[in-house]
Amino acid sequence: MDLKDEIAKEKLKINRRHFFSKLSVGLGTVALGSLMVPDLLKRGGTGLDSEMLKAGIPNFAPKAKRVIYLFQAGAPSQLESFDYKPLLRERMGEDLPESIRNGQRLTGMTSGQDSFPLVGSFADFKQYGQNGTWVSDFFPHIGKVADEICVVNSMHTEAINHDPAITFFQTGNQISGRPSMGSWMSYGLGSENQNLPAFVVLTSRGKGNSQGLYSKLWSSGFLDSKHQGVLLRSGKDPVLYLNDPDGVSRSDKRVMLDKIADLNHKHYDEVGDEEIHSRIAQYEMAYRMQMSVPEVMDIKKEPESIIKMYGAEALIPGTYAANCLQARRLAENGVRFIQLYHQGWDQHGNLPNEMAGQAKDVDQASAALILDLKQRGMLDDTLVIWGGEFGRTNYCQGKFSPDNYGRDHHPRSFSIWMAGGGIKKGITYGQTDEFGYNIVKDPVHINDFHATLLHLMGINHEQLIYKYQGRRFRLTDVAGNVVSGLMA
């Protein structure tokens, strides 16, 4: 029996289990996980226009079982983080040569500037790890895990404004309306767990100039809304409407649910609509979520050594550090796609100061997440990604001075890093010219990035398809090549 058959057999087993548990009277035992697999109770299947076209997924053995995406919203500068360009310091203040800019369109914020003075990184760079990965002094902790990560300095996109750029990254298209990456994963692979959604979202914000987030970024688009990202929030109501009102205890709730189920069953006997059984099952799942979500979110039992790894901020709900720790806990509990957003990376001005603060927010906890996953043996099958929606210009926006400057949006090259699940360790992939403006080696487009991501999860990106409005849609639309150079 080849691998594909084996995978399929496993899947069938799982689904038989779901199938039969749904048919049995004990609907209380149906898992929330089946929220995320095709809904067998739905009358008459998924319908003519929404046919599922997933060809034998997973298409091959996955390297990664889950993703933790540490999205740095606003676009952190690659030139002060991972793309080391000493030339920019040497030629500080000189105008960007026209031959380098070479027709790149500019945003309305700098298109009116008379000159484009080059500006070198305020932060110094050092080499880390066995391969001498360059990392700026803003990110010393990440530097220390350089042997675990793969820095990509050759990312590029077409978008030059935040909304279309971040929408592109999350959904594969600049215009809103397409499903988010996490939704595609949930659609393609279903859920690994019984009590939590397959796709969750956590947000935090630094002090830097920030851009808004939009629920469309974790929307399931035209996919069934069960694949939508569920926003987990810090504070008392981590999932919207999760908490029962004061005055209603857990046992009160149990009794109430039983009464609701009793009456729903009686009504089913009368009207015969299977949708009622589905409703009863959803109420049970909701109840299970009420118990499991607070438990997963409660970090009180984490030992001090762990808190120390992530930093003291991990104890403050809603911080990036707390969310990183949370991400690990969610990963342990079988959540497929964990999407973090950290806002505040839009440094059009005051970059050295703001970026130092932003980096401080994320440096230690990001590195801690890698180490923590590793020590639990989870890094091998967890893919961790760190990065923003585009890069920043090598020239200064606004008033230029070597220690206080800003950088505008730059789509032609930027840096992200990845680690874990099937990713090469300790390498730097791709290269920009010495101005840090154009890619000279191994470009990685966002479509390529998506194709690679899906590949690591065991999915051929050309075969994860959903037909909507008569057209077959993919996360990678009509493009994308798997980047083998990134994979171990």
């Binding site: 067998l40 319908g47 003519l48 226009d49 939009y214 629920s215 109430m256 949708e275």
Partner: protein, 788 residues
């Protein structure tokens, strides 16, 4: 592909494929004109007589057109299968061979290719990810053997009334619609359900026509009234209510992507609500659909346009507008014009025009030039793109990007007297004008900075040519849309009306009537309705009344196992509709039945309860715009219909989004109807539901002496029917348990009774809290949130 495909001769069948984690739903509805089930040859699913539109074209379109269809740039081997003469011509790259030789499948290259195992010859090609099922091959073969007859696409032929079919049971039909429905049912060997009970029917029709449940008083009046049960009078009663206009508007707001914010990243405030008030007004005045469209598309271009007609054109300015700093204005201007074009396609024409923006349409006869000819109608608006960022706009109270009209208190005494404008400070509302003439070009790959051929305003000739008598502007476009020979406009709207009432349209894909869309389940009925609608001057209330006074509509929605098996999706309507209420309807149901509803119509949008912190956590930080933090309203503004809930695009009201409301970034014509645990949580714990339970419990407690009466009255109020003995037993027991429990637990009572802002009456706290628990159970029943 691990797809096991089996033909369901009668209806969609869910197949669990062998290798499949895939649950591949291969629905194949065999429908043909003059359908005769005996002609369907069992499991093979190949009808005796092949119909091009219903059997062949869906296969060609889905599996062949991508390379052999309308898109000239992607066409392979010079073969085009969507046009008869091309399809039957000698193959340009293979002289002497023909793709299709009528009556001779064996000589047709198409057939030898689809049956070929040779990877270099087989069609569809191995690398296309497309595959023909055996029955599909069989259909194509048989079609060629029967002469390979082509027909124009069904949706591009103007609708005509066919003869009313004969039915066996002549006593059942109440009007022509029933004849069509019953005739199909009889052909399938199905029988209509019994009529619904009067209570159920009144609840159903009230929800359908007004979005609100009937009041107990109305229910009593209609059911127990001394006179005979007169359903037609009841329909008239609900159609005449102002809440009818609100309910119709609810649907139109999704089409029009209406919101109270600009969208994109800063997503700050805009003042478009007067346009929304106009829509309510227009529906309540029963403005003919043709006029309703004309005003919205071209009101400003009408001779001596009134301010009301100009206000209506706000329809085309409801799209998101970016306030992000540093955007390239022309890029976004082009995006807005595209949005208007796509909205016209999806919302009014039922065609995926957007597919032809970057290249010729792959499936429908719409070229890229056609797209930009449509685009050019909307290209002359005197808009500059971004005029002010969110911070400036906030400081200068600039809530509408030009062009706009200014509405002040003087207008409230004139043509705009329908506006509910409590604050008489003048406001600006975005509208259309054509004062900035621009040449329009085909944009290469759809890119704003890559203009190629010049185009003029025009419409796709394959749908209906643009008459030379029409002005080449939006007014001409409106004339074209509302011409009674336009094959799409009436079909698309009556199909949506049908969908609102029965849960799905006669064409399920109400957004796509093209080659890739679903086929109509009752094609002759759809055409009859469309023609009838136009004959009656596009009279919406007439059409709705026609539909709901049918015997079809008035059937009971009880599902027996046989029907469930035969027609699980209720395509043939051998029972009444049963589906979950929409997001707005659920909240409004709670407000109405609890007595909290504030019936005020129109006005600026309001901010009801919402879990705190949502806007704050995701906004762009600090002071960008005026929608950075959510402060709920107080008093009776909390209890307005959900139609008036403030709509921030980047974070739509969660109690709406959880129940499948779209985010309003784009035109939507068909909401999903899901069933999720998040919905269960919202119904259990949303303050609005809890407060409704409390207020209703308090009211009943205050006005009832006997404890058992209280439970019954509560049940009546929420379910709008009498409880069965069993139900009473379950609920009374539950109630008594909490009467006892709460008499010893003052703290819980206090906590429960403090939920929501509405002031407590003088009812007994313990009794109220116990009854509130019962009310919560009732508000969470499937029946409560379902139209049945």
């Amino acid at each position: 592909m691990n797809q096991n495909q089996i033909m369901g001769a009668k209806q969609n069948i869910l197949i669990v494929g062998l290798l499949a984690f895939l649950f591949v739903a291969i629905g194949f509805v065999l429908k043909e004109k003059g359908e005769n089930p005996e002609s369907i040859s069992g499991q093979s699913g190949i009808p005796d007589e092949i119909n091009f539109n219903f059997n062949v074209k869906p296969i060609l379109s889905d599996k062949c057109y991508a390379c052999h269809g309308p898109d000239a740039n992607k066409r392979k081997a010079g073969l085009r299968l969507d046009i008869e003469s091309d399809a039957k011509a000698e193959l340009p790259e293979n002289p002497g061979l023909y793709a299709i030789v009528p009556n001779e499948a064996s000589k047709s290259e198409l057939i030898s290719r689809i049956y070929s195992d040779d990877e270099s010859a087989m069609m569809p090609p191995a690398d296309s990810n497309l595959k023909l099922a055996e029955h599909e091959k069989g259909i194509l073969k048989k079609w060629i053997d029967q002469g390979a007859k082509f027909e124009p696409h069904w949706a591009f032929v103007p609708p005509k009334k066919a003869d009313i079919p004969k039915v066996k049971d002549e006593s059942w039909p109440k009007n022509e619609i029933d004849d069509f429905i019953l005739s199909t049912m009889e052909n399938k060997g199905m029988h209509p359900a019994d009529p619904a009970s009067h209570e159920k029917l009144i609840r159903r029709v009230s929800l359908d026509l007004t979005g609100l449940p009937p009041t107990l008083e109305d229910l009593d009046k209609f059911v127990l009234g001394n006179s005979e049960f007169n359903f037609e009078a009841i329909v008239d009663y609900y159609l005449a209510k102002p809440s009818y206009g609100e309910q119709m508007t609810r649907e139109w707001l999704d089409v029009a992507r209406y919101a109270d914010s600009h969208g994109y990243q800063d997503d700050s405030y805009r003042t478009m609500w007067p346009w929304r008030d106009w829509v309510i007004h227009a529906f309540n005045e029963n403005m003919p659909y043709s006029q309703f469209l004309t005003w919205q598309i071209a009101g400003d271009l009408l001779p001596n346009a009134t301010k009301e007609q100009i206000l209506a054109t706000g329809f085309n300015r409801n799209h998101p507008i970016t306030q992000e700093g540093g955007v390239i204005d022309e890029e976004y201007r082009s995006t807005y014009v595209t949005d208007r074009t796509n909205t016209l396609g999806k919302g009014i024409m039922g065609i995926t025009l957007e597919c032809a923006k970057c290249h010729d349409h792959k499936y429908d006869p719409i070229t890229q030039k056609d797209f930009f000819s449509m685009y050019s109608f909307f290209n002359n608006v005197n808009e500059k793109g971004l005029q002010m960022d969110a911070v400036q706009a906030k400081n200068r109270k600039y809530y509408a990007d030009a062009p706009f009209i200014t509405i002040d208190s003087t207008d409230l005494h004139g043509v705009l007297s329908f506006l509910n404008m409590p604050d008489t400070t003048a406001i600006n509302v975005m509208v259309m004008d054509d004062s900035s003439h621009r040449e329009a070009h085909v944009l290469s790959r759809g890119n704003y900075d890559a203009p190629t051929d010049l185009v003029e305003p025009s419409t796709p000739p394959a749908i209906m040519p643009f008459s030379s008598e029409y002005p080449k502007n939006r007014l001409g476009l409106a004339r074209w849309l509302t011409n009674d020979q336009n094959p799409l406009t009436a079909r698309v709207y009556v199909n949506r009306l049908w969908g609102m009432i029965f849960g799905q349209g006669i064409v399920k894909t109400s957004e796509d009537f093209g080659s890739q869309g679903a086929l109509p389940t009752h094609p002759e009925l759809l055409d009859w309705l469309a023609a009838d609608f136009m004959e009656h001057n596009w009279d919406i209330k007439y059409m709705i009344k026609k539909i709901v006074t049918t015997a079809t509509y008035q059937q009971s929605s009880i599902i027996n196992p046989e029907k469930e098996k035969q027609d699980p999706q209720n395509i043939y309507l051998a029972r009444g509709p049963r589906f979950r209420l929409g997001a707005e309807e659920i909240r409004d149901y709670v407000l109405t039945t609890s007595g909290l509803l504030n019936k005020e119509i129109g006005g600026p949008s309001v901010k009801p309860y919402q879990p705190p912190g949502l806007w704050e956590e995701t906004n762009a930080g600090g002071n960008r715009g005026i929608l950075t933090s959510y402060v709920p309203d107080t008093g009776d503004k909390l209890y307005r219909r959900s139609l008036y809930t403030f709509w921030k695009r980047t974070l739509p009201p969660p109690s709406m989004a959880i129940f499948d409301a779209p985010n309003r970034d784009l035109c939507e014509v068909r909401r999903q109807n899901t069933n999720t645990p998040l919905q269960a949580l919202a119904l259990q714990n949303d303050i609005q539901v809890l407060e409704g339970a409390r207020v209703l419990a308090s009211h009943i407690t205050e006005n009832t002496h006997e404890v058992s009466d209280a439970v019954k009255r509560l049940f009546n109020s929420i379910l709008l029917r009498n409880p069965t003995d069993e139900e009473m037993e379950i609920l009374s027991e539950y109630h008594e348990e909490y009467l006892t429990k709460f008499s010893e637990n003052e703290e819980s009572v206090d906590q429960l009774l403090s939920i929501g802002q509405y002031e407590m009456g003088s009812s007994d706290p313990t009794e109220t809290a116990a009854l509130m628990m019962v009310a919560q159970v009732l508000y969470n029943l499937d029946e409560t949130i379902t139209k049945e």
